[in-house]
Amino acid sequence: MKQPTGDIELWEEFRNGSDAAFARIYQTYFRLLYNYGCQFCRDGELIKDCLQNLFIDLRRNRTNLSVVYSVKHYLYTALRHKLVREMSATRNQSVHLPDEYAFEIVIPYEDQLIARQFSAGQREMLERALQHLTKRQREVIFLKFYENMSYEEVVSVMQLEDVKSARNLVYKAVRSLRDMFLTQPC
């Protein structure tokens, strides 16, 4: 997995009491975490509250924190946990996104490869095919390909059974897309 160099060292400095390291962790991950949170829910305030509590907890528990091998994976797991709990606690329906808007995939038409390969009609079909992916399939794809996490990390962030089930989600997603679209003559 790709990770910013020095992440582990930064974490160690933070555990040893460095406020500067804490600030650097915040600067490095705030935007990424915010983006991840928005994939679940459009309520920016709720996401910011969760992020605030996440970092407050982090600072309070600094002496009890364990050594981590991926800071990113630790923070994503913590945010997802908080967000899911908050969202299930609230009765406010506007917080809940209809499934099709969670982890929404936008087709990058400006991408030259895509522009070359697809006619207007095919694009429509492609969009329909993408809608058939489940929310969980899209989340795995997000974490695995977009955030470059390993399968082990994906399993722990999403609390899946094992690596095999994460892999299966990806395989199924690819296969359903391919069956619906990619094998059609271009």
């Binding site: 994939q39 995939i105 977009y146």
Partner: protein, 335 residues
Amino acid sequence: MDDHLYSAEDFITDGHFQDWVQNPSPESDQYWKNWFREHPGHLKAAEEARLFLRMTRFRQYVPTVADEAGVWHRIGAAEAKMVSLNPWRTLWRVAAGVLLLLAAAGGWYFYQYAGPATVSTSYAQTRIVTLPDGSVVYLNANSHLKYNRSWPPPHDREVWLEGEAFFEVTKKRTAGGDVRFRVHAGALDVEVLGTRFDVNTRHQATRVVLTEGKVRLRSEDNQEMTIKPGELAHFHEKEGQFRKQSVDPEEYSAWRENRVIFNESTLEEVARGLEDYFGYQVSFADPALRSRTFQGTFPADNPEVWLNTLSRSFPLRVDEKNKKAVFGADPGAEQ
């Protein structure tokens, strides 16, 4: 990857393949070209995989800089409030707890409000900083701002800048008169009372562009110059001289809205932008290209858009992995 028949899924889940699709480099291009020459049967599956990886882009949400600063502030405030949250049972514990927390809060307070502060940005990142007097600084990518967290009234307000920043300075008045605000920027000191302006200290020169108000510039050897809104002052360290010209100040602060504007700029200036904003190393194989002009607006956080656009109008070779770009045709090219 070894031999047997691979499906698109196999390619998609192969880290090496993924990396090539998302961040191709001349080396990985070569590697996969060779691989497909030896394994032509896999080409179709690989093409499907490539398409899949390129298609799966997620909608992106970017918090405002104010969001980021606001949450950070609340995290700091929560530390000071910990006293009321702590559960305690006996008076002894209360006393010990209060003492301990006061010390902790005091430490946080000192760190947060009194000690020296340095705020830095990495490439393709901007931040908003609120100074102790309420003045606001927009810090551009790859820049550093240093200041003291506490500014007792009679003294000048002072900050040190490396890189580029836009200042919105509040007017501050005491019994003794207006309090000056001073930016130490490269070889220059910029002195103001209350105003809005952009300061850039890159490439052994300091450039100040004024949007509103009035500023006075002073060099290390005590040369002085004042500028008015809509004027740009330029001080080159080697020449040791001021130059002044009229400009549209908006063009010089558009980076705050994530835009970088090139208006009749030379490719050399655009190349400098790639260096300043993203840390690219740009060279010219064909020196004549340096002075070619370019007109356009780019996002301040996405080098790909810059490189794609430029490569359509100029011969440009890019090595994304090592952040290198060369203007000019490749002399070693086969065609």
